[in-house]
């Protein structure tokens, strides 16, 4: 009864919301008729002044690099929050990892799958590093590569035991990497201040267009962001995983 009443109320209000919004959206330039000028100006200047053909990377790390700095710290804040909220509590205790809890897609000892997982791992690792370092030339970059890097490690988990993953998820190491990425990115952006140039100025030599070391600070930014994002997502998923396999409530343990 309540459900259907909610549904009726919701959709009648939704109609009232959608109607004026649709009228407003209809007056926008037609789909496919982007008129600029921001994007066109960026594309007209990014090869000449930044020696990068990758328009999106140029916007993300150079023209609007400050947004990306904020974005990296959003990730940082979310991770700090996640670690804060999953801190060990008084009424919980850690037990040795048990794997029964997760709906494991992989039955224990299924050799082909374990092998496939082990095979996938180096492959994903290579791919993610490629995506990170070529961020200023091809689609992709620090963020995409970093997330892929983090998920690569979860093939280890899928193909084995939580214990296998453990060496990679040493929290102090990952936290240091995450700090290195975030603070490094911020410090790199701040370094021009030391020579009296504006924050986030692209200081390094621009190099030959299309080269791995070109576009000034862009590859370095990608590397640092990849470092932070990779470490952060590893920590994040580890925080979830830890809740599943390591932490239980004291009461339940005793009973």
């Amino acid at each position: 009864m309540r459900q259907s009443a909610t549904r009726i109320i919701f959709w009648s209000i939704a109609g009232l919301f959608a109607f004026p919004l649709f009228l407003a959206l209809r007056d926008l330039p037609d789909f496919g008729a982007y008129a600029g000028p921001y994007g066109d100006l960026v594309l007209a200047t990014c090869t000449g002044e930044r020696h990068t053909p990758q328009g999106v990377a140029a916007v993300t790390f150079d023209y609007r690099g400050f947004d990306t700095l904020g974005e990296e710290f959003i990730l940082f804040a979310a991770l700090a929050g996640a670690l804060l909220l999953t801190r060990p509590q008084e009424d919980e205790r850690q037990h040795p990892p048990r794997d029964h809890a997760l709906d494991r897609p992989v039955p224990q000892g299924n050799e082909p799958i374990v092998a496939a997982g082990r095979l996938m791992f180096p492959f994903s690792l290579m791919l993610s590093i490629y995506i990170i370092v070529h961020g200023h030339l091809t689609p992709g970059g620090g963020f995409q590569g970093g997330v892929l890097l983090a998920t690569a490690f979860y093939y280890v988990y899928l193909s084995g035991e939580y214990q296998d993953l453990h060496p990679f998820t040493s929290v102090p190491l990952l936290e240091s990497l995450k700090v290195l990425g975030a603070a490094g990115f911020a410090l790199l952006a701040a370094s021009p201040l030391a020579v009296g140039l504006p924050f986030m100025t692209n200081l390094l030599p621009l190099g030959r267009e299309g080269g791995l070391l070109s576009a000034g600070t862009l590859p370095l930014c990608n590397l640092l962001v990849g470092c932070e994002v990779g470490a952060a997502f590893l920590l994040l998923i580890d925080a979830f995983l830890r809740q599943v396999v390591v932490i239980g409530k004291k009461k339940e343990e005793d009973s």
Binding site: F31, L85, T86
Partner: protein, 114 residues
């Protein structure tokens, strides 16, 4: 065709909100939030699209092709990161709250009210 992207944008936003409004499970609610958020990616990319355009990566495009707007793509990238992190945080709230109250139904936990 030219109004379809806007219609899909509005639809995704509203269906996501509908899911949240009627959700009986906090985890379900997070996924609905994810759907609602995708409407913003859609609108951003739609307004920067250029008919028969190519990706804004200048090295490989055929001569004469018009690249689409890279700025909205950069904005959408930021948006995706934000969405992922906020979802992760809300999932943690859901997880911890489940530990405390033993239920995922937001309507069964004793809320702060009044």
């Amino acid at each position: 065709m030219s109004e379809l992207p806007f219609l899909v944008t509005i639809w995704l936003f509203l269906i996501g909100l509908y899911g949240i409004a009627t959700s009986r499970n906090t985890i379900h609610l997070v996924s609905c939030l994810f759907v609602a958020q995708s409407s913003t990616y859609l609108l951003l990319l739609s307004v920067g699209y250029r008919a028969h355009g190519s990706a804004p990566i200048l090295s490989g495009i055929p001569p004469g092709a018009q690249p689409v707007d890279p700025v909205v793509q950069s904005l959408a990238l930021t948006d995706i990161v934000v969405g992922a992190t906020v979802s992760a945080l809300i999932l943690i709230f859901a997880l911890q709250s489940h530990k405390r109250s033993g239920t995922q139904d937001p309507r069964r936990t004793p809320p702060m009210r009044g």
